[in-house]
Structures are given as C-alpha cells and as structure tokens.
C-alpha cells in the first residue's frame, strides 16, 4: 500500500487503533479471506466497526473474557496456521491474558497477533486497571514473541500489516488517543527489526518507542536551541531489537537515553540495558519511563507529566544528565 501525505494527515485524526483497524486490517481482509479477528466485546473498543460491518463472519466475539479470547484465537489458527488477530485494550489482551499468551503464542507458536490498543496511559482516568505500562516487559520475557510498537497512525497501519507477514506470534502495541501527533508525514520504509533514525546529532542518542517518539523529537528540537544535538531513533520493533542500530549508537554518542510510556523495568530501556551489559567502553544509558510506581490519576498529558515524559521534561532531564559530569 502507498500512502500520500494527505491520506497520512487523515489517518492521524483516527488515532492509532482507528487507523490500524480501519485501514490496515481492512486491507489485510481483502488480501487474506482466511484471516480471522477475535474480540472480547471489543469491536467498538478496537475500532473494528467498519471491519465488522464488512466481514461479520470473520469476527468472533469471545465475550468479555480475554483469556478465553486468546485461547479461541489459538484454536482458530491451529488447523491451517491462518492469521488470527485478537484485539482489545493492551491492558487486557496481554496483561490479563498473560498465561494464555505464554502458552498458546510463546510455547505453541500459533499464528496469533495480539493487537493491544490504548497502551501506556491512554485510558486516562479509567486508570491503573486500564493502563498498560508493563505489557512490553511481560511480552518480552516470552520466547518467540515479536513486539511492534507504533509511533503514530501511519506506523500503526504498517505494524498490523507487517504482523501478518510474520509467520508466528506478534504483539502489536498501539497507544495514544484520537488526533495522534504525526511522526511520519510521508510514506516510509517499515521493516520489522530495523529501527528508523529520524534525526541525526552527535551529542546524545534518544531511542524512543510509541507516543514517546514524537515527544523525543520535540525534546531534541528544544535541546538543539541550546546547542545540544540529538539523534532520535524510532525503535518500533522492541523484540527482536535492532542490535546493529544499538552498536552504532553506542559507538558515537556521549549519552544514550531511552524513552517509553512504560516501566523502565524490562521494556525498551530494559532491553537496551540488557544488550549493553555485555559490552565494554560504551556511553551511559539513562532510562526515562515509569519508575516502578503507578503515579497520580488524570488525563494523558497529566500522567506523562507525573513520569517526566513530556518533551520539555525529557529535554530538561537530558540536559541535567549531560551536566552530571561525574557519571557521564
């Protein structure tokens, strides 16, 4: 599929889940009549209204039972390896159903694609039960999982479509709200496992994922005004992580910063730290994310502020860490 700048702008209004389901999965359904979608009373929640109206027989509702939803998805795929998408909030498709995910996707490797929407703090005041700030860490520990995390609506479309090309289990993490800020204003090349460098600068490398890519680009702009030049990387594939990109990053930066709308334990920052642990003579890593607490409840930006995840806060933190000479 090719995407014009005008279309990309239109998709941005749909939010990541709206674009993923309304554009990406609709296209997949045209290409692959065998594909099935399982929901847990989540046609509306996963923006699958248009999909359901077009292909009612290909959508299976498991009821509000996410564990069963993942098991049913595995069963549907088990005979011929057809792709089955299971779609609902990230907090439920993964966190609630984790044993069914480990067993059916991790161990048995059925061709099931979990599409978790509203990850991070996007569920706002519905709060902790509906947030997903541990999902990447949980998915990462499971063998055979591929984890994709979309930075904007266009990338969300590309993630759900790329998931179909992978023969095996995938977790697609979608986040943000309607009117999702754009990272990619033009069509771009999306390859699973290959990070996109969006901006080049010699001082600091910011490796971000999901909604934090846009915030990191804005932070880099603020830092540039102070003479601090940042490279910004969109790490859309968290597993398998792009180690070539990490090697390049470690070789050239004074400071490496990871930014994620997720706990700093076991997510993107954790993955980079684990990879870094085996290396010598490499720059310091600062992990920006949720620091092992739940924080106060509020709207998306308020929640980000609680964890230092807005562009000005990211810029301020980077400046401070650069000035912390003892540790750099």
């Amino acid at each position: 599929m090719k995407f014009s700048p005008a279309l990309i702008k239109t998709y941005a209004r749909m939010g990541q889940k709206g674009a993923a389901a309304g554009i990406g999965m609709m296209e997949l359904a045209k290409q692959d009549p065998d594909m099935r979608v399982v929901v847990a009373d989540s046609v509306a929640i996963a923006s699958l209204g248009r999909f359901y109206n077009s292909y009612p027989d290909r959508v299976i509702n498991a009821g509000i039972s996410e564990q069963s939803m993942v098991g049913i998805a595995a069963g549907l795929s088990s005979e011929d390896g057809r792709a089955v998408y299971a779609c609902t909030y990230a907090a439920f498709v993964l966190v609630k159903a984790i044993e069914f995910v480990r067993h059916n996707l991790g161990y048995h490797q059925f061709n099931v694609k979990l599409v978790g929407n509203s990850a991070g703090f996007a569920m706002e005041t519905l709060s902790i039960s509906h947030w997903a700030t541990e999902d990447i860490a949980m998915a990462r520990t499971i063998p055979n999982m591929t984890i994709l995390s979309a930075a904007d609506c266009l990338e969300a479309i590309k993630c759900v479509m790329a998931a179909h090309d992978i023969s095996g289990p995938v977790y697609v993490r979608l986040s943000g709200l309607l009117n999702c800020p754009m990272v990619y204003e033009q069509d771009f090349d999306f390859q699973v496992g290959k990070a996109n460098t969006l901006r080049e600068g010699e001082d600091v490398t910011i490796i971000a994922t999901g909604m934090m890519v846009r915030e990191s680009l804005d932070a880099a702009e603020l830092l540039a005004a102070q003479g601090i030049n940042c490279t910004v990387v969109d790490m859309h594939t968290i597993k398998p992580i792009d180690t070539k990109c990490l090697d390049k990053t470690f070789a050239k930066s004074k400071l490496v910063v990871s930014v994620e709308e997720h706990t700093i334990i076991g997510g993107l920052g954790g993955a980079i730290a684990e990879y870094k642990a085996d290396k010598e003579n490499i720059p310091r890593l600062v992990r920006i994310g949720v620091e092992d607490n739940f924080g106060k409840l509020g709207d998306l930006r308020f929640c980000w502020e609680q964890h230092g995840l807005t562009a000005p806060q990211i810029a301020e933190r980077i400046e401070k860490e650069l000035n912390n000479k003892k540790r750099v």
Binding site: R36, D57, S65, S68, G71, I72, A74, S78, E99, N104
Partner: protein, 275 residues
C-alpha cells in the same frame, strides 16, 4: 485404513493392559512420583474413545478428517499415553521412557503425529482452544468431530466456563466434552473443598445438552459418546472413582501424585491381573 471398532470385551481387556502400563509408567517416573489416581479414573473413557469412537488412521496420523481429541485433565498422562501405544501410535516400549529427560513422552508436548493435538498442560487452558478449533471446523465445513476430556476439579478454572458459554453461543454441535467426575482434587473431596454439585444441570443451564453415565461402564460410555445432538455442544458427565482398579489408590488423595515403590507395584499388578 481407519481403525477397527473394538468390541466391549476387547475394550475391557484393553483397559486392563492400560492399567498395567500405567503402573510401569509410575515406576519409570521414579522418585519424582507420577500422577496415578487421576489417570486410573479415566482409563475406560480413553479406551472407549480410542477403541470405539474416534476416527483416526494409524497409518496416517495426520489424516485431515481424523477426529480431533484434545486432552485436558493434565494429570492423566498415565491413561493417555498407554492407549495410544496400544493403538499403535508408538511402541509400548516407549512408555518406559516416560518422564525421562528430553524423552518422547516427557511432560505433555504438542505432537500431532503421536496423536497429541494440543498440549494443554495448565488446567483450563484447553477449553477455549477447543472452542476455537470446533468453530473453525464449522466455518470451513470440516468432517471431523472435536472431543475434549476435562477433569471435574479442573472446571474450577474460570476460562473453562468462559469457553462453555462461547461453545453454546456458537452452537458447536461438532463438540463433545467428557468430564471425568471423580470428585477429587489434590487436597481431597471436591464436594467438601469446592462443590461442583450437579454438573449435568450446570451444563444444561449453560445451553449444552448433557447426560450422566457410569464412567467405568464401557457400554454406557459407548452409547453416550455415539450420541450427537444437533445445534448444541454436548457434555458427558462420567461418574468415576479416582484411582479405580487398585484398592490402596482408590479415593486416596495421597496418590494424586505419588512414588510407586517395588512392593506397591507388585501389589498393584496382582490386583489388576486378578480383576
């Protein structure tokens, strides 16, 4: 070539051989112990399924129209593995390697060529999977029937009931579930620990057709399993005795998982042979 349907007499003899294999496997499991009593309660169920009900071709284990049997009740491998050995999926000698490191029959592994359609392992894992399997079989108009064996205490797991609701909702009349109602779990009697009460009524209330049979009565099991209701999934509640066939194991919770010593092994063999 599909397999022959065994007579009730032959199935009885098969059950005896399966119980003897189960004792050998319990010995093979060594000091870690084996799940003995939960296996003995479903010997007749397994024997009837493989001897008279399931369609399969031993020369072509992946035959596309074979019935799909999914084993829940994870602690019943001492019944599941012997019946497949007896039916020719693998040599009975293989049973001696049970629970040996990296062995063919260690734990429970998805091996369709050996008749294992799904390794459920964790209790409650199989029922949603079975619903997906039966549903796609209907959507793609497959000829096979889907069977699943559950333990009664296993039905304390929530996802089992989530899937029961879905099976009725999708009118999965290509699905038969057998519940081994041995009224025991690890800690003792289910009706004292977490009462399941009348499981047939429960299944009926969930929109299934259901019946209750004596689970060690081969004739009753065959009749119940040959029944295929229309428009509804079907649950057979098989009343059984945990540890059936060996006096010191019957209804003895210590034998849920236990070590088979040489002395007890000889005693068990004697009882089974003389039964």
């Amino acid at each position: 070539m599909t397999r022959k349907i065994l007579s009730e007499e032959k199935i009885k003899a098969l059950c005896k051989r399966m119980r003897l294999h189960a004792m050998d496997m319990a010995v093979a499991a060594g000091n870690r112990g084996a799940h003995v009593s939960g296996s003995l309660s479903c010997i007749e169920i397994y024997a009837v399924l493989y001897g008279a009900i399931l369609k399969y071709d031993i020369d072509d284990p992946l035959w596309k129209d074979r019935d799909r049997f999914i084993a829940g009740k994870e602690h019943a491998r001492l019944a599941e593995y012997p019946v497949r050995a007896e039916m020719g999926f693998y040599s009975p000698d293989v049973l001696n390697s049970y629970e040996q490191n990296d062995g063919l029959l260690v734990g429970h592994q998805l091996k369709k060529e050996l008749g294992v359609e799904y390794a459920s392992m964790s209790l409650g894992m199989e029922m949603p999977f079975v619903v997906g399997k039966a549903l796609i079989a209907k959507q793609t108009e497959q000829k096979y029937h889907v069977y699943c064996l559950l333990g009664d205490a296993e039905c304390e797991e929530g996802p089992v009931w989530e899937a029961f609701i879905a099976a009725a909702h999708y009118k999965l009349d290509n699905l038969t579930v057998i519940i081994d109602r041995n009224c025991m779990s690890v800690d003792g009697n289910t009706e004292e620990l977490m009462a399941q009460l009348d499981m047939q009524k429960k299944m009926e209330a969930f929109g299934w057709e259901s019946t209750t049979v004596e689970g060690h009565d081969i004739h009753q099991l065959i009749e119940a399993l040959n029944h295929k209701p229309e428009g509804k999934p079907y649950a057979i509640i098989a009343k059984t005795t945990k540890g059936k066939g060996v006096s010191f194991i019957e209804n003895n919770k210590a034998w849920h998982q236990a070590v088979m010593t040489e002395q007890l092994y000889q005693k068990a063999l004697e009882e089974i042979k003389n039964s």
